[in-house]
Symmetry: D2
Subunit: 433 residues, 4 copies
């Protein structure tokens, strides 16, 4: 992970030193469990805790020689141990430690992510409520469709983020699983009650069954949940990028005092945070793919997932954390130009009301097909000639024959588009992210 | 989807005709809802149901002209309609129909997939129970590690399939959502109570909010759930492919009477079904990626997801169905050679017991480090000289000084590796896939 | 491949019948080669050619029984053969036929794709030349940057398409390779001179070495070349989608007479072809990923690539063909509104000239840092107050102290942005796509 | 990039400091070009070179304030400048510098990668030549097929690596392109002759046309070339992993003196390097996907590619370098057990000669169909009964009626499988990687 995008407290979880600390934590939990169960003398864990050392350069030095990181870690961590050394890592296989510690790291990270995600959901919801009745153009295919509320637009992100929060919750349950079941998962040299007690100390759950390792579909689900959350943020960021276009100018990401948009063009304000978030979402997706390939390991495990996970797990976790945290400020500081929203809406010659007219003409007795072609040709003509659609309608005999002027005018009122806003907002009122 | 891998009843859900039938089903549910709510006269729905026609070539012909599939469908389906035509598709936007019908198609497919998946889980579990005590070599890195039970090996697949079933359940809840909320999702021309009633008739749930369409993270989650399930099946298929290697020969996929393995080499029996399943899992993953890119649409929707979904959704659904169904027969008919499992195990000079010896020597007072290097050098020598590790141990003074012959012999008994089999199996007893 | 996007002549290459025809073509080329080399009697090939039958239902029926498509094909194709049957498929392994025929299919498809791609490049170039001096706003981050020529904008697509054409040429050389080297690629039962002669008859090149099959990195390169070409077309389609936004309205994809934009909103003209192309590009990328996973087969081959390739190869080939062909009409019929381009440019208060002013102030002696902050604050103020930047400059004492009014006016002339247009166009003059 | 897999000299190219140094290098090349062209006074470049400072913490500090890395760099690098400051970055846009410097970084890295790749190709070729006549089992579907030479097996990797080297060469030409064409690529504030001269000083080629940036399909092609090379190495690593399986035991990756295979099981020797390489290939593929999404930027550029590229480019480059360099030692030190290869071959009851028998029986007048079923049933019976296929043939009346004992014996000689080895090797003799 590059420094630029690494934020505390997540980045501190994934330093090499902290990873070794988690290894030690797991080793000691096992010893503690044995102590609790009366399998070894009381006090051994405490002794170990005092004597154990985490000395990263020393570990790496030994690894150079033995080419095995766990063996290097054990040798280094226990170098001040006395006879208690025999109880350290006893009956365990490397993966018992590595994978359980990995679950710890993921769980602790996920808690932060979930916590910040809830804040983000609140931020978007607050902004949505603020703009509950802000009229804005709804666009499909990039083209004006029908007016809507800017608050509703934002509420779609609340809804999506809530779904992503649930996916993360689901993944969380799975990544809280770990294993202390030995070399091929059959507890040949460790009793299941030790696993159960030690993992409980770590607030983790034993896998119902494992191979040498925790099954990798669990990590894959987690990375997919992060990627889908990141993609949801990308959707939000893309919306803002669209709204910040010079021609649209309806919203703008916060621009810091002193910030510069371009080294060459001093007039520019660019949605660079939003663009950055979009790029990051791509990485999350790329890493999710990698994690799929990590699932199909050979027999009771091969270690091909390891080199990939050393990179993709800490990276994806740190990237999503960055994205969620930065999105909070983005949403809170979002500059909304409701005046411009109204202007853009008015610039399209009232054409966006065409569906109302269509429905009204059908109600008034015109055949759907005839009504459609009548309106379509009129609308396209208005567009070409920059002519007001309402006026044009009134001057069209086939329409005037069926609808009075007042009826036509009624079709061009915007309250129609906001009339169900409260209904929709109410659905979100009792949500608890 | 190519004919070769398309199985009924799923393939019948995804014919073009059936898709148009679902469109009609949704249109009629809306009319029915209005009727139920007293908004239109009783009996209109029934009249429509009788007069409506699904004539695929006719629809396609009209589409050539109007370049819009929904408009072509409406024109064709209602061509025999009388005045009731005015109530058809009224207040709806194309996507109300298309997306709701898509949810129907997904939901109906998912039910079949889930049903067959439960059978598959049962199949694997039965095979696992059958081989509960079948001793087999546990392998890590492709190299003999420690013995285990073949039943346990299979149970890891039960566990993974169960997780994938849960993911599918989770995705199912989301794909059961649909929308009838109009052009930009604000119910401008349709009342929410119509949506609610119509969707209830279709056994679907309204989205709390939508844009013009159902949010695409829902489809992405579904395709990812299928891809992860497919990847789980790939893991199983890969295991069997490994076990069917000539040198290993511990298991074999069923070989039909009359089947031929190779056009050139009449002696061959190849795990072609397993290989086919592996290839299919790749497609599922590729399609999942595509679905990620479909999430970030512009504003209230752009239609870029559509061309992709026309292919990936029916394809992934049909592929996973094929995979699940074919895996059932694969597992049920799996030929297990437990005799060969034992032989392979014995061929490695008793080296696989080295961890037992390591732990015992530590218990007997040797330092971990000394014990490790003693055993490692002895083990590698035995491997090189094809010499029995148990005998070698007895002849090693440093070992003999600490352990009696009987104690050494005890370390080479295999019951150690099966002693917790029942404990693990018990965890699965009360499962209800 | 779904019918909707399948175009002749490519779709005819990938029918099941045509694939079997290619198998026969390869089989007969081998027999012909043996005949040419005097290894078998003259006339046998001709006899076979007359008696051979391609009867798809019959082949599939036999395959049901033998579970091997090549054996089924041989049985069916040769059912009318007499004694010459012994020379058919002699010394060959299935993959000799299947893979060589696959190369034939790819090569023939690639020729069509390349041919149509050249036309597309010409189409874009012509449009670029037409708009060589059409002034348009250059945008970065979606925000007005500096003016440029619309022809230059289009020329970037010519350049990218040319690169993609070269990649396709490079891939073409590789997919023109095939193999007739037997079960594990060592020519145990076939002489290399037969391979050489037979492949020459088919206008293919022998692999320098093969396993049982043609190496799969070749197919992967091809699918990546298609995906990158598709992505290039997506970039073009995305540009048009942006330009067709209601607020921008600078360009529009062709809208057929009789076409309808929306079932609910008769006024709409949507860039649906461009959106469709974007969705298709995603599929191409998804398939490229799949092809990566097909490279790493086991030993002399496993068949896991086969189920995937049956889908991704014909699909990607047909999709890219559709994309290229449809893009031709898109570009040729592209509606360009140069009037609107000029209006959009003028709407930004002359701010886009800020770089010129920056450089001029530096030339006139102001420090870069001071010049930058002076202009930035003035520009942002103009933007806020919708005030003309040129006028504001003249009224700024620090600027007026250094620059005369005429000098300032000179900075706001647009010919600056077009002065190197000819220089750039000249670079493309001698290109021959 | 994590320290663990970062090797010099590549990692030194991608430090933050070195990246800023390249920015400076590009800035100075532009000034030098202007000097050479007589546009500014002689000596300015030299003055700048002496006064310019690269002080990373200082740059980052300024960036905190201005939120723009290029502006921060300019401010910091030029802080000791006098009046010459006005000529620094003059007429340039940030991307002129950033993208040109990125090309420099890629080109310099690619040179190292290509150089080491050539060595690797030589290493594999040498090993192939060493084992030119080493008889080994050819396997398809993981099942014994027909014997072949281990040298041939290795030669397929030479062939694939050569193709990957060519792809890298092709990508190299493209990444050698850069641009100094200003904010939207139209040379509004810089003359093309300056670009040409400055890039020549840097040994780079000007893009024929650019937007604000170098087109991203170029970077995508490069990352795909790296991914395909990595996938080729994965294929090699996977082969070795298969061969190192306990039951196969035909080859083994080098095992360092002092190395430990498992913390629990002292007897183990695992192919961990090969597994690591497989995991790394996944990352390269994941990053290639990301780079596809970076191609379609908006208009004259958006910056969404940037956050992603800051990670994927240095990561992929460093990973492939690690893979290539480590593969050299892997291949050179590969332990090949030709004795075991022969044993494995003999263990399959001579069944692997079945194709020879099939062809011979056809030659002797039996119908293909009859010959096939005769041999297949005999072969499967031999397999079941662990009976020698040669003996069984002699005792089969239908066979004995057509073939003499000596003729049968001739079919079981292995020289048949090696007879074309020299032919194939000769094709590689004149290669020059």
């Amino acid at each position: 992970m590059i420094e630029r995008y690494a934020l505390s407290p997540i980045k501190d979880i994934w330093t090499q030193e902290e990873q070794y600390r988690r290894w030690l934590e797991v080793e000691l939990a096992v010893v503690q469990a044995k102590e609790d169960l009366g399998l070894i003398l009381k006090g051994i864990t405490e002794t170990m805790r005092h004597k154990a050392r985490i000395d990263v350069p020393h570990i790496l030095e030994i690894e150079q020689e033995v080419d095995h990181d766990m063996i290097a870690f054990i040798k280094s961590a226990t170098r001040d141990f006395g006879d208690e050394e025999r109880y350290f890592h006893k009956g365990l296989t490397s993966s018992d430690i590595v994978d359980t510690a990995l679950s710890l790291g993921m769980v602790r990270s996920a808690k932060w992510i979930i916590k910040e995600l809830k804040k983000l959901i609140e931020n978007v919801k607050e902004k949505a409520i603020e703009h509950r009745y802000t009229l804005t153009m709804g666009r499909t295919h990039g083209v004006h469709a029908e007016p809507t509320s800017f608050g509703l637009k934002l509420l779609t992100y609340v809804y999506e983020l809530e779904r992503n929060a649930k996916r993360l919750d689901h993944a969380f349950v799975n990544i809280s699983h770990a294993k202390l079941s030995g070399a091929v998962g059959n507890y040949a040299n460790i009793d299941p009650i030790i696993e159960e007690r030690a993992l409980r100390l770590l607030e983790l759950t034993p896998c119902k069954i494992s191979t040498q390792i925790v099954p990798r579909d669990i990590h894959c689900e987690f990375l997919n949940a992060l990627a889908l959350l990141g993609t949801g943020i990308e959707r939000l960021a893309t919306e803002i990028r669209h709204l910040q276009r010079t021609e649209v100018a309806e919203a703008q990401e916060p621009f810091k005092k002193g910030q510069r948009g371009s080294s060459a063009m001093p007039h520019k304000k660019n949605p660079i945070l939003c663009e950055r978030l979009c790029g990051m979402a791509r990485i999350l997706r790329g890493n999710a793919i990698v994690s799929y390939e990590n699932v199909t390991l050979w027999h009771e495990r091969d270690i091909s997932h390891s080199s990939a996970e050393r990179m993709i797990l800490p990276d994806s976790i740190q990237i999503i954390y960055y994205m969620v945290v930065k999105s909070q400020a983005l949403v809170k500081g979002l500059i909304v130009n409701s005046q411009k929203m109204r202007e853009n809406f008015q610039a399209s010659h009232n054409l966006v009301f065409s569906q109302n007219v269509l429905n009204k003409l059908i109600d008034a007795g015109m055949k759907r097909e005839e009504a459609y072609t009548t309106i379509q040709s009129l609308a396209l003509e208005c567009y070409r000639q920059e002519r007001d659609f309402r006026l044009a309608l009134k001057e069209t005999p086939a329409v005037a024959a069926l609808l009075k002027e007042a009826e036509i005018d009624r079709l061009f009122e915007t309250d129609l588009y906001l009339k169900n806003v409260d209904y929709i907002f109410k659905k979100f009122e009792n949500d608890r992210p």
